[in-house]
């Protein structure tokens, strides 16, 4: 039973408590899909996330930037609770996804992750054929009919802008592809179960510039249908593709505003220092 979609409450921006000054200026037509409130996270001893308050909107690209070790990956992995795979992680606070607190014990992580796909830093296709990679999610979720699977695979590969490159070799091992192609296969793999959100943790940092460009174009395209949260080390990339940008430092959110504004007119001295390359 997919409890998450059932009780969908679209939190309106105007209804929610404003926790960050900069957010007051943000006005948007789309509704909030993820609302993080007072989130704290510890790895056994390390206090990796400190009092995070963030609202992420539907059908936007939200970029998370910040120096290495500031907690970007940790935060994004909390959004689909992958962070729990690390032993000894503990959290306080709440993240509501479509109105449900996903940190609650009663939430089934499998349901959450069905709706929230993830693309990793290093392309990580399975050592299977291209077809099997993309069909993996639907199969895991009980779709067995070949005809439906065929349809899903094609649709997803098209959606990830790689159909034309691989349509003649769907049965070949995905490891035979280039890194950029592999990453798009991984994106297609996520699309196959039609999630609402795509989490991307530095999806282009292991790729060459041309592959990076292709992925960036793809992200702009996917934005029409998906909410995308992307971690990147590359500030130009954040500026190019995102609607809003989060700047994190030492486990805290320093600034969160529209991308243009954050880069052209940062409110916080630390943000300015970071984007002008004075540290990090």
């Amino acid at each position: 039973m997919s409890t998450l979609t059932e009780n969908k409450i679209n939190i309106n921006v105007n209804d929610t408590v404003q926790t960050n000054e900069s957010q007051e200026q943000i006005e948007s037509k789309s509704s909030v899909i993820y609302n993080t409130q007072n989130l704290d996270l510890w790895y056994t001893k390390t206090h990796a996330l400190k009092n995070i308050n963030l609202e992420i909107r539907e059908n936007e690209v939200t970029a998370i930037i910040g120096p290495s070790g500031c907690g970007k990956s940790t935060y994004i992995k909390t959004l689909n609770r992958m962070v729990e795979l690390v032993p000894g992680v503990s959290t306080t606070g709440a993240i509501s996804y479509k109105g449900k607190n996903i940190l609650d014990k009663s939430i089934k992580v499998e349901d959450l992750r069905t709706q929230v796909g993830m693309v990793f830093q290093k392309p990580n296709p399975f050592p299977k054929s291209i077809y099997e990679n993309v069909a993996y999610g639907p199969k895991v979720h009980g779709i067995k009919k070949k005809a439906i699977l065929d349809e899903i695979v094609e649709k997803s590969l098209r959606g990830a802008a790689i159909w034309d490159e691989v349509k003649d070799r769907l049965n070949q091992n995905a490891y035979g592809l280039s890194g950029g192609q592999q990453q798009r296969i991984c994106i297609a793999r996520c699309l196959a179960i039609e999630p609402d959100v795509l989490l991307m943790d530095e999806p282009t940092s292991a790729l060459d510039p041309i592959s990076t460009l292709k992925i960036e174009e793809l992200i702009k395209e996917l934005k029409k249908n998906y909410t995308i949260i992307i971690v990147t080390h590359n500030m130009q990339q954040a500026a190019r593709i995102s609607d809003r940008t989060v700047f994190m430092l030492n486990g805290e959110v320093v600034e969160f505003s529209e991308t243009n504004q954050l880069f052209s007119n940062p409110k916080d001295q630390r943000t300015e220092d970071y984007i002008t390359g004075r540290f990090g």
Binding site: T5, D111, G142, K155, E194, P195, K224, Y226
Partner: protein, 316 residues
């Protein structure tokens, strides 16, 4: 959700998935029972240990109710089948220790020197050929070694040294040595390989030869690993059965003459269990007393090897 609107197809995947999720309750029960099933499978190894201990101890206790434990461990006479049976384990212990000593005298030096060659001198190419060949030696079933000892090595020894009997402890001892060479060679080589290269370079840079570096630097640094390999080798020899059963006969002499036949603990177990020792007889129970002694012996050796090699790992 906006997700599906743009995809030009009739199938709504997320709906399908949601529907499937409702049906999956049976699978859920299966999933929930998996850790339990795996736990049960994993506990079979623990049950095995308990089974071994229980089997040996319970029946050995029966034996010691009939034969005083002191007589057993200090008796030099083993005549289980005579009118007045005597159960002294010393002849068996003696046979076991002597054969294992012969084996380690063969395998120790040769295994160590092989390890030195493989780790310090051999080129990668040569090593890639030699190591798999040595592994074959380790993969030969012991019954084949037993055959070899009995039909080839013994006649050869008797030709070279006429006083040797047709069944003797020397031949199986040597062949057991050959059998454990690969084990000692590869464990010692591992130990020597984990000596940091910097130590070698430091020594070589002072103008010493490879031999001097090996003897003065590498071997001392890898010493406990090498010792552990020897101890494990001895443990293997103590537990080895078929080679001694076939080639050393079954006379229960308490002697130190390696030209003669002696029986090891393992060979005694084969002899008694293969013959018809009536269940419940002292002879039958003696089997378990001997096996328990053997078990404790090898366990101590294995723990000793682990202890020694753990100390060694802490050095770096």
């Amino acid at each position: 959700m906006a997700t599906n609107s743009n995809l030009n197809s009739g199938t709504n995947v997320s709906e399908l998935i949601a529907k499937n999720k409702e049906k999956k309750s049976l699978n859920n029960y299966f999933e929930k029972s998996i850790p339990g099933i795996l736990f049960l499978l994993a506990s079979i190894t623990v049950l095995t240990t308990i089974g071994i201990l229980y089997t040996l101890v319970s029946q050995a206790v029966q034996f010691f109710m009939e034969v005083p434990i002191l007589d057993f461990f200090t008796g030099t006479e083993l005549n289980p089948l005579s009118q007045n049976p005597e159960f002294g384990i010393l002849p068996l212990l003696n046979g076991t220790i002597i054969s294992s000593l012969i084996a380690i005298l063969v395998a120790g030096p040769i295994g160590l020197m092989s390890a030195i060659y493989l780790s310090e001198y051999a080129t990668d190419k040569v090593r890639k050929v030699l190591k798999p060949l040595l592994e074959i030696l380790a993969g030969i079933p012991t019954i084949v070694y037993g055959f070899f000892a009995f039909t080839f090595v013994t006649p050869l020894i008797r030709y070279l040294w006429p006083g040797v009997e047709a069944t003797n402890i020397l031949s199986p001892g040597i062949v057991m040595g050959v059998m454990i060479i690969p084990m000692i060679a590869s464990l010692s080589e591992d130990a020597m390989n984990s000596v940091p290269n910097g130590m070698r370079e430091g020594s070589l840079a002072m103008g010493t030869t490879k031999l001097e570096t090996t003897i003065k630097v590498v071997i001392p640094a890898a010493f406990s690993g090498i010792m552990a390999s020897f101890v494990l080798g001895i443990s293997r020899a103590i537990g080895e059965t078929m080679i001694v059963t076939i080639a050393s006969g079954s006379s229960k002499n308490f002697t130190f003459d390696i030209r003669e036949s002696m029986q090891t603990m393992t060979a005694f177990i084969v002899e008694v269990s293969g013959g018809e020792a009536p269940a419940g007889s002292t002879l039958h129970y003696s089997l378990y007393a001997v096996a328990l002694t053997l078990f404790v012996f090898t366990l101590i050796m294995n723990l000793l090897a682990k202890y020694v090699s753990r100390k060694f790992r802490e050095e770096y």
